[in-house]
């Protein structure tokens, strides 16, 4: 049951394997890092771990260490050769040994199981990151379309979130409403964190049971997944009317996000986008709050992984390329009002960008 994106991906992967002289590509994954496996098999792994062996002729074997996941893969994956093996490493080694002296690459290399590389007889497996990393970052047209659809659902999801946020509700109840909406729309996964409160809130995290009260700022990032592809939106709302400090703070983030987005174009580096955002903070005397003490990144790539390269940071010199899908979000702590977020997803184009999010860029107010 392949999605519309899978055949095009396989073609691109075969070309990349040929270019990198790779006969067999070993791809490892789990529910956290599902992207490499998904690229080759179109299977979204949920439990346990999996390894795909992709041969140069396209023949692919998917090994899963959870029996129910193997059954689900037989219904959902785009390939036919699916094996259940309680010992993933033993089975993968057995199959790789059969490949003889062929050139084997693997990714993500640092996460590969230790036993795969170190057994009674060491296998010669090279770092195959180069084969697939660029494919994950720079999307094909069909992949961009999936990200567009995910972004549309992110917009719709935020409308649900706004409706759900009202005084007296617990933070995890808001998440429950979002998840209900996404499941009803056929979205199987969503990355989401939340912040509730004021100046004391230093970041977002999973919900802890906080009850919304008047004056609270409620921050969230929603990241629904469509056909395996994620798109994100970040917004902040205030329970009740926003006060002057909140409005003034939000204006800085809006200016920063718009400066960052205006900088996006093919050939511009991630560092230049981050600098455009951060310069706005520095202009308002908030330079301390764009450091790692208060913020992680000023945006990032998205695709089959919700937080992929390039990270938008002032020390990341990766040039943006047409077809990269990224979010620009100057999310950070503000000393007067607490953690505040604002971010939109977009596609990098030759001369700028294609904006994917349609939710107004405003500090929302809910009663």
């Amino acid at each position: 049951m392949a999605t519309s994106t899978h055949p095009a991906r396989l073609k691109a992967l075969a070309a990349s394997m040929a270019a990198e002289n790779t006969d067999v590509l070993v791809l490892f994954g789990n529910n956290w890092h599902a992207d490499h496996l998904r690229y080759a098999t179109d299977f979204g792994i949920q439990e346990g771990q999996g390894i795909a062996l992709v041969r140069a002729d396209g023949a692919t074997t998917l090994i899963l260490d959870d029996p129910a996941e193997a059954e689900r893969a037989r219904a959902e994956a785009a390939i036919g050769d699916i094996l259940y093996a309680p010992s993933l490493v033993k089975e993968a080694r057995r199959l790789l040994t059969r490949e003889g002296n062929r050139q084997i690459g693997a990714a993500p290399f640092h996460l590969l199981p230790y036993g795969l590389l170190n057994g009674e007889k060491d296998l010669r497996v090279n770092d195959g990151t180069k084969v697939i990393e660029r494919l994950l970052m720079t999307k094909l047209e069909v992949e961009m379309d999936a990200v567009r659809r995910a972004a549309k659902l992110a917009d719709e999801g935020y409308a649900i979130f706004r409706d759900a946020a009202r005084p007296g509700r617990k933070d995890y109840e808001l998440v429950a409403e979002i998840e209900t909406f996404f499941r009803a729309k056929g979205v199987p996964e969503n990355f989401m964190i939340i912040g509730v409160g004021g100046q004391e809130v230093r970041g977002m995290a999973p919900p802890g049971g906080k009850v919304l009260k008047p004056g609270d700022m409620v921050t969230t990032e929603l990241t629904p997944c469509v056909d395996g592809y994620y798109a994100q939106i970040c917004r902040t709302l205030v329970v009740g009317e926003a006060n002057e400090a909140q409005k003034q703070a939000f204006a800085v983030y809006l200016e920063a996000m718009e400066a960052g987005i205006a900088a996006v174009a093919a050939g511009v580096t991630a560092a230049e986008v981050a600098k455009a955002e951060n310069d706005v903070f520095r202009k308002f005397g908030l330079g301390d709050y764009v450091t790692s003490e208060y913020t992680r990144v000023r945006g990032h790539g998205m695709g089959l992984f919700p937080d992929q390269k390039p990270q938008i940071l002032e020390d990341v010199q990766i040039p943006l390329e047409t077809g990269m899908t990224i979010i620009v979000h100057p999310n950070t702590y503000h000393p007067a009002v607490g953690y505040l977020v604002l971010g939109d997803s977009l596609i990098v184009r030759d001369r700028g960008h294609e904006l994917l999010c349609g939710t107004p860029r405003q500090l929302f107010s809910v009663q």
């Binding site: 049951m1 789990n30 529910n31 956290w32 979204g44 792994i45 949920q46 439990e47 771990q49 029996p67 129910a68 059954e71 689900r72 219904a75 959902e76 309680p86 010992s87 490493v89 290399f109 640092h110 996460l111 590969l112 199981p113 230790y114 036993g115 795969l116 590389l117 170190n118 995890y172 998440v175 429950a176 998840e179 209900t180 909406f181 499941r183 009803a184 729309k185 056929g186 979205v187 199987p188 996964e189 969503n190 990355f191 989401m192 964190i193 230093r202 970041g203 995290a205 999973p206 919900p207 802890g208 049971g209 469509v226 056909d227 790692s292 003490e293 208060y294 913020t295 992680r296 702590y333």
Partner: protein, 350 residues
């Protein structure tokens, strides 16, 4: 990605219970001549660290180091801004955030090695341990020997305390509530799965993987909301659910066929009344319990936590029972044939 309720409540999971678990692990690790123990965690393989510390990362990865004595150390690639939050939901151990958690743990072990030049470190599931982290250990801890600590952990993990039983029972109730919210007349998978997820999460589930076998007449395979469409006359929903990092599964079959409704209800009752055997084999107990006119057991699978896996097959109709821990609760998944009609069920037993 975990996005449901994540909070620590001392009433549910007393610090003393975690300290006992760590002490049991230390005994087991010392018994195999090791100086410390390391378990890796991420959202797919978090059960061991959650059992030892109460903490399950919502994202990213980390390493939990238990030295022979002293405070355990948790190093995680989660960012600095969430360090305070981790501390609030992780009742024991010291937390450090770093882009390179393996390097931080390795340096900590090396600095505290003292006169003992050879360090034997037990690694949970060494074969599955990320190769990059193993390399970091080998390069940064002089004289280190990495040994497989899976059996040592399993020895400690055989201990099931009151706190764990309480969390399991709560998780099971949430899964049951979610399945009870499903309308047997739902037209498609999305209509069936959405309320299941909703009710579980409203009750405080940390995670809920709801999947559907859309037409039991043709297949017993479960699918997610993005690939399943119209529902047949009979379908089943499987809810794999975590509450405070404690996982259970429940499966319930639904039918729109009036003739099958009483048979499905009878099968539900049979599953609900199954008790774990105090002696003898599980297979024999299942065969003895699930009986009736035109009823046949097609297959079954028992699952318990094992190492870093929240639920792992420990006994099955097509395999041995040697990994099944009789004294511990388990999830029984079972497929029955009811006069030719497929029925699937699962619940927590014990």
């Amino acid at each position: 990605m975990r996005r449901g309720l994540m909070a620590w409540d001392e009433q549910e999971l007393p610090r003393a219970a975690l300290e006992t678990r760590v002490a049991l692990l230390r005994e087991a690790v010392q018994a195999i001549g090791c100086d410390g123990f390391v378990a890796y965690t991420n959202i797919a393989k978090g059960a061991a660290v959650a059992w030892l510390s109460g903490f399950q990362p919502y994202w990213n990865e980390g390493l939990f180091y238990v030295p022979a004595t002293g405070t355990p150390l948790f190093a995680t690639a989660l960012s600095k801004r969430v360090a305070e939050w981790i501390g609030s939901v992780m009742p024991i151990g010291q937390v450090q955030t770093t882009p390179k958690p393996a390097l931080l743990i390795a340096q900590h072990i090396a600095q505290n090695a003292g006169q003992n030049k050879t360090k034997r470190i037990a690694i949970l599931e060494l074969d599955d341990f990320p190769a990059g982290h193993a390399k970091t250990f080998l390069e940064n801890i002089p004289g280190v020997e990495l040994v497989d600590g899976t059996a040592a952990f399993a020895k400690a993990r055989a201990h099931v305390d009151t706190a764990e039983r309480g969390l399991l029972a709560h998780a099971d109730r949430l899964a049951e509530t979610g399945l009870a919210a499903i309308d047997a007349k739902a037209a498609n998978a999305q209509q069936a799965l959405a309320p299941c997820d909703e009710h579980a999460r409203l009750g405080g589930a940390e995670e809920c993987f709801a999947t559907v076998a859309p037409d039991l007449q043709t297949s017993a395979r479960f699918q997610r909301t993005d690939t399943a469409g119209a529902l047949g006359q009979t379908f089943a929903v499987r809810s794999s659910l975590a509450y405070k990092a404690t996982w259970v599964r429940r499966t319930r079959s639904f039918t729109r066929d009036a003739n099958l409704v009483p048979r499905f209800a009878a099968a539900d009752a049979l599953l609900a009344s199954f008790q774990p055997p105090t002696e003898g084999s599980l297979a024999k107990a299942i065969a003895g319990h699930f009986t009736g006119p035109d009823l046949r057991v097609e297959s079954w699978l028992a699952e318990q936590p094992a190492g870093s896996s929240p639920l792992s097959g420990v006994a099955a109709s097509a395999g041995s029972e040697e990994n099944w821990q009789r004294q511990a609760p388990f999830v029984l998944n079972i497929e029955l044939s009811l006069n030719g009609a497929r029925w699937l069920g699962a619940r927590l037993v014990g």
